[in-house]
């Protein structure tokens, strides 16, 4: 079987298209690359959706944590502590058993026990908590002068937040937030390791790498391939977040711009 055929058969195997049976013997490098690459679709799916949705919740949480009212502040603080203080691994486990229980209450919750919905919710809440902490830190370090200037212009309430505070927060938080996004993508590999089962052998990149390592009894080929894909993905994320960062900093003189540096600020 040529490599082209392999790609045709297995490129979308992780979504359930193409050849139903996974290869069982005489594995080629091409099959390794295709299957693990196919699994990357799920990693990207979880990563992109969780980052995008988590971004909004994180903003709410950060503002709530910064609020003077303890009704808003306390829940936000607890939420952030709970999700940042416990390993994602254990969060997945609890979410899965919770979702199974919900399922018996009403069929409305049925999708939650499958990874595409359930794991996404966990990742969404998790990244929201981590990002909220980053945004909160940035919110705290807005230069006093910015706020005084806004006051001088007569800006108050929502418009002050929207036009002055929020853009500065984003600008200050962006480098750290980039790292959080990268770690979130890395964390998507945990989905099928803890709690959530794989259906019809549709799994993420790590699932297929494990499958191949198990069938070939050789861990030295599939895992480095997985690593290769993730290094590529990391570079792509850094590129996109760098573009946004440029936009956030476009009003500043060249020397004052913050660069997106891949720093291990937060991980799970």
């Amino acid at each position: 079987m040529s490599c082209f055929e392999t790609i045709q058969d297995y490129a979308f195997r992780s979504l359930g298209y193409g050849e139903r049976l996974l290869p069982r013997s005489d594995f080629t490098l091409c099959e390794h690359f295709t299957l693990i690459g196919s699994g990357m679709i799920w990693n990207i799916y979880y990563g992109v959706l969780a980052v995008v949705t988590g971004f909004f919740l994180a903003n709410l949480l950060a503002v709530a944590k910064n609020s003077n009212s303890s009704w808003a502040r306390k829940p936000a603080e607890w939420f952030i502590f709970l999700f940042r203080g416990s390993p994602l691994f254990i969060q997945f486990f609890f979410a899965y058993s919770l979702f199974l229980n919900l399922k018996s209450v009403s069929s409305f919750f049925d999708p939650l026990s499958s990874a595409w919905a359930g794991a996404l919710i966990v990742l969404f809440l998790n990244t929201a908590a981590y990002s909220a902490e980053i945004f909160y830190g940035a919110l705290q370090s807005i230069p006093r002068g910015d706020i005084e200037a806004a006051d001088a212009y007569g800006l108050t309430g929502w418009s002050r937040f929207r036009k002055v505070m929020w853009p500065t927060t984003m600008r200050l938080a962006w480098p750290a937030y980039t790292n959080e996004a990268i770690f979130l993508f890395h964390a998507t590999t945990l989905v099928f390791v803890s709690g959530f089962p794989a259906w019809r052998q549709k799994g993420d990149a790590l699932y297929y790498a494990k499958y191949l390592a198990d069938k070939t009894f050789n861990p030295f080929v599939p895992y480095p391939i997985l690593a290769f894909y993730f290094i590529l993905l990391t570079l792509v994320i850094i590129f996109f977040f760098g573009l946004i960062n440029k936009r956030l900093n476009r009003h500043l003189p060249q020397s004052q711009r913050t660069k997106v540096k891949y720093k291990p600020n937060l991980m799970r």
């Binding site: 502590f81 709970l82 940042r84 203080g85 416990s86 390993p87 994602l88 691994f89 254990i90 486990f93 609890f94 058993s97 890395h186 964390a187 590999t189 945990l190 390791v193 790590l206 790498a209 494990k210 390592a213 009894f217 050789n218 861990p219 030295f220 895992y223 480095p224 997985l226 690593a227 993730f230 290094i231 990391t234 570079l235 540096k261 891949y262 720093k263 291990p264 600020n265 937060l266 991980m267 799970r268």
Partner: protein, 297 residues
């Protein structure tokens, strides 16, 4: 044959709930579970300083003027951080083990004429085995634990290297220039001026890294160390009466709840301690935090 702590534990099926529980929670298996909490703490105690050491080496390499060393440092930081830690853990321990045995084999058995790789098998001469085939089990365990520590150190060392590299850059340039003006050699400048001052800049990053390290410990079982997650799964799974004196349904939720509490408490304690250290380190430093301290006192 069960050795029980309480004498009434000899026939658990007849016991009341409270007594049953006290027997159940003191079985040898539970003792192993409790010990595994110590294993996790011990691993952290070893892994954190080793990671810092790797990080320091990595950061120094990345700053080096000698190009190959510079590339090595940068490559190490970039590659290890670009890969999910779990992918690393899944093959790295076996690779490390084989690598060490290979080196020992080359040194100790130069006359060996058979290939090391025979098909799928990885075979080194007996005296090159790590640990030796006839060594006691605790040596095997310690070796496995040491491999896990080294793996953690390499992975988190890359992150630490990045933090330390940034911290070294953050030390105000005037400090270095002043040192040079006083006639200090580059080596003296590095050790006497740069290193003592960089910690305050590195601390926020290192604190985060410590939190990250704590939360990476559930992956220990992938490295073959029987950690708290392993035992929680083993103990929590449902048990039928044929194979245990303490049959019970699926109790994994309860056991994982215990783990959750452990991690939350550990995080909280770490936060408090790290905040104190930060306050101390900021003392007398030319940073905002240091300035704030100066004004209040």
């Amino acid at each position: 044959m069960r050795s029980a702590i309480f004498s009434f534990c000899s026939d658990p099926a007849t016991l009341e709930t409270f007594q049953w529980m006290s027997c159940y929670l003191t079985t040898g298996k539970h003792m192993a579970f409790y010990v595994s909490f110590g294993t996790v703490l011990l691993l952290l105690a070893f892994a954190a300083p080793s990671a810092l050491l790797f990080g320091f080496g990595g950061a120094m390499a990345a700053r080096a003027r000698f190009l190959p060393l510079n590339w090595l440092g940068r490559g190490y930081i970039a590659i290890v951080r670009g890969v999910p830690d779990i992918a690393f853990f899944l093959f790295f321990v076996i690779a490390l083990d084989q690598g060490l045995e290979y080196l020992r084999h080359k040194v100790k058995c130069p006359d060996w004429d058979q290939p090391i790789r025979q098909g799928n098998d990885f075979i080194v001469c007996d005296i090159a085995k790590l640990p030796l085939g006839n060594s006691a089990q605790w040596i095997h365990e310690t070796y496995g634990f040491a491999l896990a520590v080294v793996t953690f150190a390499i992975v988190f060392g890359a992150f630490a290297a990045n933090v330390l590299y940034g911290a070294m850059q953050a030390v105000p340039h005037a400090q270095i220039e002043t040192a040079e003006a006083y006639g200090l050699t580059p080596r003296q400048t590095f050790w006497r001026i740069l290193v003592p001052q960089m910690w305050t800049y590195a601390l926020p990053g290192l604190s985060n890294l410590w939190m990250v390290l704590i939360k990476a410990t559930p992956l220990l079982f992938l490295l073959g160390v029987e950690d708290i997650v392993y035992w929680a799964k083993e103990l929590g799974g449902s048990k039928t009466a044929n194979f245990t004196a303490y049959p019970h349904p699926d109790w994994r939720t309860q056991y994982f709840l215990a783990l959750l509490v452990f991690y939350l408490a550990f995080t909280k304690v770490s936060e408090v301690v790290l905040n104190r250290i930060t306050t101390r380190l900021s003392h007398g430093q030319a940073t905002l935090a240091g300035e704030a301290q100066r004004k209040t006192t």
